[in-house]
Amino acid sequence: MASIFSRIKKKLERSKANKNWANKNAYLISKGAVIGKGTRLNCNIDAFGSEPYLIKVGEDCLFAAGVRFITHDGGIKVLKTLGYPGMEKMDSIAPIVLGDNVYIGTGAYIMPGVHIGNNVVVGAGAIVTHDLPDNVVAVGIPAKPIESLDEFFEHVKAKGKLYPTLGLTVEEKRAYFEKVFSE
């Protein structure tokens, strides 16, 4: 019975933490994560996995929904079960360190030990297995830099997908786009 109560308490704590950006950051920082000022999590706190104290994030980052930081390699379980020498007490673990101004696209995974530089865009669904340098866009499985931020800027402009709708309310934005695309 007591375990049910503690479980429900934990669940409530988590759902409260997921309520808004400030709550998410506060919860994760209390669990030992380092999160810089201005960083916004559109993913929920589950993204930080079972060892949030192994994750360091710089300032002004933005993480989309479904992102996951994986700080341990569970595959070592197979070696343990097979009785490889010296493995039975071992965890395979490495911290993740992110620079400032990093955007991580929806559904991307960051693997153990990865360091990401400053001003980086990680594409949706990418799996980042190796370090990424500063000022790049990296996509794919495994994630590889495909262009610099300057090239990204040129491409975004050239594609004609840019609209001055930042800060509009949902209704204003809907009206704006319904007009743009009905023409």
């Binding site: 479980r7 996951r68 595959g75 097979l82 395979s92 490495a94 669904g125």
Partner: protein
């Protein structure tokens, strides 16, 4: 109203099934899945999809969160709409067989008809479209074997990512790693200097 009660009952059943390892296995076994002894599911029962009775899992496997074992190809619906098979509409289905001591990393998908051997590690986010032999690590889209598990063991030791923290309670583990990597200490120091 009756429909709503039925739906709610189903949901509650699922939530209860997902509460621990034993109840997940019980729920799936009742629905026809064959799951060996010592297999642990960190994923929810949803991972087994709509046809759990088409899935066979060996002993001592471990499945991470958010994996999916897909036993049907939904794309055939398009052909059905277009009457490719005449009046009789078809399902495209194939069973999945997973051997003993298999680890499946978070977010991986195993596709219809795939057989995975014994002692296999599937990387996070992999999409397994073809059979995987025994004793390998397979990653990527589509998943391909990249090394034997002997090589995997050697690489782990070389990389220095191994720590003797298995079985530690959460707080002790946190203290151990905070000391080891001092991610926090640096932050605390920087804050003080500011």
């Amino acid at each position: 109203m009756a429909g709503l009660i039925k739906k709610t009952a189903k949901k509650v059943k699922r939530i209860l099934a997902n509460r621990d390892w034993n109840s997940k296995i019980k729920y799936l076994t009742e629905r026809g899945a064959r799951i060996g002894n010592g297999t642990r599911l960190n994923c929810g029962v949803e991972a087994f999809g709509t046809e759990p009775y088409l899935i066979t899992v060996g002993e001592k496997c471990l499945f991470a969160a958010d994996i999916h074992l897909i036993t049907h190809d939904g794309g055939v619906a398009m052909l059905n709409f277009l009457d490719y098979f005449g009046e009789q509409h078809m399902d495209s289905i194939a069973p999945i067989t997973i051997g003993d001591k298999v680890y499946i990393g978070t977010g991986a998908y195993v596709m219809p008809g795939v057989t995975i051997g014994n002692n296999v590690i599937i990387g996070a986010g992999a999409i397994v479209t073809k059979d995987i032999p025994d004793n390998v690590v397979a990653v990527g889209v589509p998943a391909k074997p990249i090394e034997s598990i002997d090589d995997y063991c050697r690489h782990l030791q070389e990389k220095g990512k191994l720590f003797p923290t298995v079985g530690m309670p959460y707080e002790q583990k946190r203290a151990y790693f905070e000391e080891k990597f001092s991610l926090n200490k640096k932050a605390a120091k920087a804050e003080k200097e500011n």
